[in-house]
């Protein structure tokens, strides 16, 4: 396949960015999107052009590091995949592909397609944990049976990879899906119930301070989420938040 790539180039956080156009030839449909970017970068290096910076690590869809906005969609046109799992067979010969970073005020650009998502870490610092020491002196793991349905739902929420596609897809750049996934995981498990009130209040407070937008229930986040995290989690967090606010 021969393609035309239009890629956001920005030297650093303070620089002004712009879209640059790069043709690329002989792309194999079996390549992953990031492998195509590797090939492009090798070509750019050969020509003395600065290679395109992008975040990536595990390349199997679980680390959450890759973060490209491809043809107007976080992680591109395929569903339930990250950019590293998107394969070139999803595109056609002659296509023009526009590649931008995940955009949100709370995710400043580091360089080109790499962004700073440490706001997500700070939300987790505010309450994304169970306050139990790691001494191992806890009760036996089977001492508290947990309803399989609750355990499964907690697991589904816990599969969030923290990539930020939800934020990038949301017209308000809201982080509600991300935050609600963590709040839900703990709200569904007995281990998390003890601190449920403080957790939801603190995490939401931090989310607001980071400059993420509000949720207006458009559901774009759920559609673009590579792990299929459900909007139900947002509803659950809203319930948790409301009841926590009354408890106060």
């Amino acid at each position: 396949m021969n393609l035309t790539l239009k890629i956001w180039r920005q030297a650093n956080a303070d620089a002004t960015g712009s879209i640059e156009t790069y043709p690329i030839e002989n792309v194999s449909p079996d390549m992953s999107f990031l492998e195509m970017m590797d090939v492009l970068n090798e070509e750019l290096i050969g020509k003395g052009i600065d290679p395109v910076a992008f975040d990536h690590d595990c390349r199997e869809g679980i680390c959450g590091m890759c973060s490209m906005y491809i043809n107007g969609e976080a992680h591109g046109p395929d569903r339930l995949v990250t950019t590293c799992q998107l394969h070139m067979r999803k595109f056609k010969d002659g296509d023009t592909i526009t590649i931008e970073p995940f955009r949100a005020n709370a995710f400043p650009v580091v360089k080109d397609l790499a962004v700073d998502r440490s706001a997500f870490d700070r939300i987790q610092h505010a309450g994304g944990f169970v306050s139990v020491n790691t001494s191992g002196n806890t009760q036996d793991a089977n001492a508290i049976p947990i309803d399989k349905h609750d355990a499964d739902k907690a697991f589904d929420a816990a599969t969030c990879i923290g990539c930020g596609a939800c934020v990038a897809s949301c017209k308000n750049a809201s982080a509600m899906l991300f935050v609600s996934a963590k709040v839900s995981q703990y709200a569904l498990l007995p281990q998390g119930k003890v601190e449920a009130t403080d957790r939801v209040l603190n995490m939401v407070k931090q989310m607001d301070e980071e400059g993420f937008g509000n949720c207006t229930n458009t559901g774009a986040c759920e559609v673009e989420c590579p792990k299929g995290i459900s909007l139900e989690n947002i509803a659950r967090m809203n319930r948790e938040y409301l009841s926590a606010s009354f408890k106060g």
Partner: protein
């Protein structure tokens, strides 16, 4: 010749750890506040150690090269974590886990460390459940288990095919709690460039901020290396793109012995290579071998027809399939250990039975499991067990619930539906059992410098059993290092903060800056990746699944030549003081180019076959690996002397008190 003291405590095996903990020095809570510890890496080992050390009261500085500690490659571990809980009542015990691990490691690991690992394994599960890790449960609400290779019990706890993710997020959450309290200072997008020794002790590190290129000095009373394995020396592996040996290699160059570098795990079930553009390989969890059956066509005509696209695997009759693991190893069948399964796949493919275009793939087939589960479900639900369509659908639902994410991953990469047609798999580099040499306290041969998790060598011998890497990472980080480090730090309560304005820090920083300047000013013509790929080819062809003296000698010469060429002709674009991925990669590849040579040298020296290390000169008439216990029951610890070729071998003899050393058989 220098000797190494493994510091294994005296007394009966089962009491060693308990007695040791009771007698080592402690640091009082007030004094812990005066002590700084650096942790490099935030995988299971690094994250759990950081959290626990901070809870105990130490001031922790933790570093990772990713944009968040949650992205460390432990996140990608799929199948599960072992623990001798015996919840299934199938005869498991601490001793049996200890025994299985020693045997699985082909009698090349240290007994006392492995016994301790088995002892603390049960605590890990309790701990993780208390943290809210959502393990799989049965309908009674209790924890579920499955079985992994090389064992005859079900002791593996799991969270679908994302166990590593859930455990890492558990450790990350424990870290977050301490970051929030200010007890851990987290440095994301920072790479450790070197360790700094003062009076022979580890007293800090030099780092590079990967966003702006700034070189920084960080002092501490102890340095913990938790930077994972070095599988990426092969270029293609299941490791993450950024996984590297540099932290381990830098401390090696400053005096830490590097042990058993040639002990590499080639995992049998990975998605085969599709072309030259390939940047990494994807694992399909070993848990799939619980339900998947591995086979190749018996007849070469069928193989050819499949390669030409004229025949589908589902069209090959049962009697024309060779379920070679079940044939060769009836007792363990598809669940033989990884090294055995990988070699068996290579043997069949070398004999011409490989089922894809490259001839390097075998089938992993779920059809019989789907029908078996489907029948069971139909029976439970009172439906017609003879309705093949219904049974298949019900069976597929069960398989989806167990392995859904893995099947989805396979389909996205290969573009085939594994519910309908068998998966194609082939072995790939996955894990390195070798690593930095450590004593029983997990301290390296540099005082005050520790290595934990995959970065050290200690627990898996020559082959690691499935679901044991997660166990070791968390055991080291949560339950071992935080105790043993106190014994050393007790001597540091009066030291005071470490001053980084000293000649030692100055010199280390200068060396780092000089190397960076040399790279960016090199004006070479070949990209960093081109060298990494060449190194990977040498490693895979000559130091891969089977090795011989001639090939290893060639590898040593070729890697040395490649390294020299790299320094002359590598092209590192961009500047030192910016976000520069090529520059970061150049430093990592430079270290791989040294490690690769030591790896080959180690493999050449060890003329026996053991575990994942298969020397063609040392095999039984049936082609199985043949150990040489008389001459090789030791750990090969290499001391740095300049060029890898000059490294000096120091042997740590392995003594087996509890377990009788036998020929490993899975027949």
């Amino acid at each position: 010749m220098a000797t190494l003291d493994s510091k294994i405590p005296k007394g009966p095996m089962a009491d060693k750890w308990t007695n040791h903990k009771s007698h080592i020095n402690l640091v009082s809570p007030a004094n812990k506040r005066l002590i700084d510890v650096i942790v490099v890496g935030t995988g299971l080992a690094g994250a759990s150690a950081s959290a626990t050390l901070a809870e105990l009261g130490y001031n922790v500085k933790t570093f990772c090269f990713q944009d968040s500690p949650r992205r460390a490659h432990s996140i990608a571990a799929q199948g599960g974590i072992n623990a001798a809980k015996n919840y299934q009542g199938d005869g498991d015990s601490t001793y049996r886990l200890f025994y299985d691990t020693i045997k699985g490691g082909d009698y090349r690991s240290r007994e006392a460390n492995v016994h301790r690992l088995a002892e603390v394994s049960t605590n890990i599960i309790d701990q993780c459940v208390a943290q809210g890790v959502p393990f799989a449960r049965d309908y009674g609400g209790l924890l579920d288990n499955r079985s992994f290779g090389g064992v005859l019990v079900s002791r593996t706890f799991y969270a679908k095919g994302q166990t590593g993710q859930q455990l890492l997020l558990g450790a990350y959450s424990a870290m977050n709690r301490q970051i929030g309290r200010g007890k851990i200072k987290m440095y994301n997008r920072h790479e450790m460039m070197d360790i700094v020794l003062v009076d022979g002790k580890a007293r800090g590190i030099i780092t590079r901020n990967l966003v702006n290129g700034q070189i920084e000095r960080h002092g501490a009373h102890a340095v913990v290396i938790a930077s994972g394995g070095y599988g990426n020396v092969f270029f293609l592996s299941t490791n993450a793109m950024g996984s590297n040996v540099s932290a381990g290699w830098k401390i090696h160059k400053k005096g830490a012995h590097f042990a058993n570098p040639c002990f590499t795990q080639i995992h049998p079930t990975c998605i085969p290579v599709s072309g030259d553009h390939q940047s990494k390989l994807t694992l399909m969890s070993e848990s799939l071998r619980n339900d998947g059956r591995i086979w190749v066509p018996k007849n070469i005509e069928d193989v050819n027809a499949i390669r030409e696209g004229k025949l589908k695997p589902t069209e090959i009759a049962e009697e024309n399939r060779d379920y070679y693991l079940e044939r060769r190893y009836p007792a363990f069948g598809n669940l033989v250990p990884r090294d055995v399964a990988s070699r068996a796949a290579k043997e069949r493919c070398d004999a011409g039975h490989g089922v894809n275009k490259t001839g390097e793939a075998v089938y992993l087939d779920f059809a019989s499991a789907i029908m078996r589960y489907g029948k069971e479900q139909a029976h439970v639900k009172g439906l017609n067990e003879n309705d093949a369509v219904l049974v298949k659908k019900l069976g597929q639902d069960v398989v989806r619930a167990k392995y859904g994410n893995l099947f989805q991953m396979y389909e996205k990469i290969v573009d085939q539906n594994p519910y309908e047609t068998p998966m194609m798999i082939y072995p790939a580099v996955h894990y390195t059992m070798g690593g930095v040499w450590v004593d029983y306290n997990l301290m390296t041969s540099i005082p005050g410098c520790y290595a934990i998790g995959e970065a050290n060598f200690s627990d898996h011998g020559a082959n690691r059993l499935g679901a044991s890497a997660l166990m070791q990472g968390l055991a080291d980080g949560y339950f071992v290092l935080p105790y043993t480090i106190g014994d050393y730090l007790a001597g540091d309560i009066r030291t005071g903060a470490i001053d980084t304005n000293t000649p030692e820090f100055e010199a280390a920083e200068k060396a780092v800056k000089d190397q960076i300047d040399a790279f960016v000013n090199n004006n070479g013509k070949n990209s960093v990746d081109s060298y990494h790929k060449k190194l990977g080819k040498i490693m895979w062809n000559k130091c891969g699944m089977s090795r011989n003296a001639e090939g290893l000698k060639e590898a040593i010469a070729e890697i040395k030549a490649l390294r020299e060429d790299f320094y002359k002709n590598v092209n590192v674009p961009g500047e030192a003081n910016e976000f520069n991925e090529q520059l970061a990669k150049a430093g990592r590849v430079a270290d791989f180019l040294e490690l690769g040579e030591l790896f080959a040298k180690d493999a050449l020296e060890r003329t026996e076959s053991c575990g994942g290390h298969f020397r063609e000169e040392s095999k039984t008439p049936e082609g199985e690996a043949l150990r040489d216990d008389e001459n090789f029951t030791f750990v090969s610890a290499w001391e740095y002397k300049g060029e890898p070729s000059e490294a000096v071998l120091v042997k740590e003899d392995l003594n087996y008190e509890e377990i009788e050393v036998k020929t490993r058989s899975y027949k």
